[in-house]
């Protein structure tokens, strides 16, 4: 628009593109209204979907057209038709990896296949995540495939869980800011722990703590490891274990702050850990640490992006601990 007016030729080209698209769209519409299930219908819908992946009505018609073919009743023939459809999807997904409708169609194909190759689908999902490690659809698709592999596994899915867990370790080791990988790990860990005896379970929990601390040391300001760190408290066996973990964490954070006291997030986490410790074990946080906590929150509230949050927390703590708002206490920011 700002780049100058289109030439007459460009306008003519644009007009022709509109005309062609509308003609194709009208052709598919006419076939659909007749309810035609034929190879002609499959060709026409493919041609239209190649131009526009977002037409859920056309994807739906394509599925009906498949199911209405006489040869659909022959499992061998159906296998061939749907394998070709998977290849078509492969090309399309490469073009638009974020289409809900397309992923939905792929799920339909897999479920309609007489002999689906789930391991192959898992490899495909891995390839996709190698290109874009955070792709929302890629992870959802991976979980869909894994659920099928689990359902078919003779060991109740234990090996699948372990290998998925290892996959998240690999992803986190590559990039410890991968929220999708940490998330998936949190979804897998409870089953992994449940399958172990108590000593092995304790060892596995300790290994999680080591992994998360390592990630925190790699990038103390990244939120992902801290989120997981907070959740690890939830799944400890009891409050005693939680308090032990919190004390260890407070020590680790102090060490971090000694290295670089400009890190904002470790400060917030220090305050959060002390507050939680105080809640679990009243009296465990001494007056000096409480005062430190209040100072930290005041310092954090100076950040214009987060002021509301930390002011609220500080006020709530002040009420709880009976400390006055302490504004007279000057803090070096």
């Amino acid at each position: 628009m700002a780049a100058g007016e289109p030439t007459a030729e460009e306008r003519e080209q644009a007009r022709r593109r509109v005309e062609q698209y509308r003609a194709l769209s009208a052709r598919v519409d006419a076939l659909r209204r007749r309810g035609e299930a034929s190879h002609a219908a499959l060709d026409a819908t493919r041609e239209l979907l190649e131009q526009n992946t977002e037409l859920h009505t056309v994807w739906g018609y394509r599925r009906r057209a498949f199911a209405g073919l006489a040869e659909w009743q022959d499992p061998e023939r159906r296998q061939q038709l749907l394998e070709a459809e998977l290849e078509f999807m492969q090309r399309m997904i490469r073009r638009n990896v974020k289409s809900y409708w397309m992923w939905g169609h792929r799920v339909w194909v897999l479920e309609a296949l007489p002999r689906p190759r789930w391991a192959h689908e898992l490899a495909l999902a891995a390839k996709l995540l190698a290109v874009d490690a955070r792709n929302y659809h890629g992870w959802n698709y991976r979980r869909f495939v894994v659920a099928r592999l689990r359902a078919a596994a003779p060991d109740g899915g234990r090996a699948v869980d372990e290998s998925e867990f290892a996959f998240t370790t690999e992803q986190i080791t590559r990039d410890c800011a991968n929220h999708a990988a940490w998330h998936n790990r949190s979804r897998l860990l409870p089953a992994i722990l449940a399958a172990r005896d108590p000593p092995a379970r304790a060892a596995a929990l300790a290994a999680e703590d080591a992994l998360v601390l390592n990630a925190i040391y790699t990038d103390p300001d990244d939120q992902n490891a801290w989120l997981y760190c907070e959740w690890l408290l939830d799944i400890q066996p009891d409050d005693q274990a939680r308090c032990r973990l919190l004390r260890a964490r407070v020590a680790a954070i102090r060490e971090l702050l000694d290295l670089d006291e400009a890190c904002r997030r470790p400060l917030a986490e220090l305050a959060a850990a002390l507050v939680e410790l105080d809640r679990l074990d009243p009296g465990a946080v001494a007056a000096a640490e409480r005062a430190e906590c209040m100072r930290v929150l005041e310092r954090l509230a100076a950040d214009p992006l987060q002021a509301g949050r930390f002011r609220d927390q500080r006020a709530a703590l002040g009420r709880q601990w009976g400390v006055a708002a302490q504004t007279q206490e000057k803090v070096a920011v």
Partner: protein
């Protein structure tokens, strides 16, 4: 804040003209390529216009007639005349009819029957259409659409709540379904669903509020997941979630408003996903909705309902503000000075 330049303005007239002009672009391929979501486009346009106090800028009778014509024999609505039904468009259609004060023009029983038929009674989950894709978005839509007709009891609401609860994650957020990664837009649909169902008690308020507050980036804009780019549409999804949680002040609303205003197209009107990109009606809607939530007062904006995403007056007229009674008492906004 002390910006040297004049504070940026909300280009009301430009945005009104942009929305009015959407239906006059038949010579552009994009017009035809987006035909399948025309009903949603009208919804986005009407929300933006309603907030700007210009709800009359589109021809009401024409809109109502067109939308009613998108209802199919199964009772659901397609995104355009003759297109297959889907919950996404059924929601938009019902919201449009509510904004046009024409809910009485639709055969409620057919809509209710369509929506109720999409629930899997074993798991509580709701599909978007006959093909069976399940998502927390559809769980919210089912409960919301039925609430317009006072027919929530036609669903197993406790089952829907169980499905939403199973979609809750370690970070306090919600994904597209059980196992799905937390995402600010899914968080909104889950909170809105729980608000209507009166079950906000299942939410981990502190953890989720902190996660949502982290969505704000130095530009002032909000993202949908950690490490992602800011996008104007999250001004709605994330901030309205914080509103429901009683913590809208956990982000910097002035900076957010400035970010949204910077994504306006000063020439053609409309708002883009981020500054410099091409504007569209979706981001125009959620940009203006974000400004309304952020308390932007450069021009008077109508108040927006955080659950139903329509002007509050519309939601009141439809008798749908009961959700505010379901918010736990401790959640009422307690901003500390």
């Amino acid at each position: 804040m002390s910006e040297a330049a004049d504070p940026p303005q909300l280009l009301v007239e430009k945005h009104v003209a942009f929305i009015q002009g959407l239906d006059k672009k038949q010579d552009e391929l994009e017009y035809w390529m987006t035909e399948h979501l025309r009903v949603s486009g009208i919804y986005w346009g009407l929300v933006a216009l309603g907030l700007l106090g210009r709800g009359d800028a589109l021809d009401r009778d024409e809109v109502v007639a067109y939308v009613l014509g998108c209802q199919n024999a199964d009772g659901g609505f397609g995104g355009h005349t003759g297109h297959d039904s889907h919950l996404l468009y059924t929601m938009s259609a019902v919201q449009i009819l509510a904004m046009c004060d024409a809910l009485d023009r639709v055969d409620a029983e057919r809509v209710v029957g369509y929506v109720a038929g999409l629930q899997d009674r074993a798991t509580g989950a709701v599909s978007g259409d006959e093909w069976g894709e399940e998502d927390t978005r559809f769980a919210f839509i089912a409960v919301a659409v039925l609430s317009f007709f006072g027919a929530e009891q036609r669903l197993d609401v406790a089952g829907v709540v169980r499905f939403v609860e199973r979609s809750m994650n370690y970070d306090g957020g919600f994904g597209s379904g059980p196992g799905g990664e937390s995402h600010a837009a899914q968080v909104y649909t889950c909170l809105a669903c729980l608000a209507i169902a009166g079950r906000l008690d299942v939410v981990r308020r502190d953890r989720l509020s902190a996660w949502l507050a982290e969505r704000q980036l130095p530009s002032g804009g909000l993202n949908g997941r950690p490490q992602k780019l800011e996008d104007v549409c999250y001004s709605w999804w994330a901030l309205t979630s914080l509103h429901i949680l009683g913590r809208p002040h956990w982000i910097n609303r002035e900076r957010l408003a400035a970010f949204i205003l910077s994504a306006q197209d000063p020439a053609a009107g409309g708002i883009a996903d981020r500054p410099g990109n091409v504007a569209d009606v979706y981001h125009t809607c959620f940009g203006i909705a974000g400004l309304a939530l952020a308390g932007f007062d450069g021009v008077p904006l109508a108040e927006i309902d955080p659950v139903y995403c329509m002007p509050r007056a519309v939601v009141e007229r439809a008798g749908l503000r009961q959700w505010t009674q379901h918010v736990p008492a401790a959640w009422h906004a307690e901003e500390t000075e």
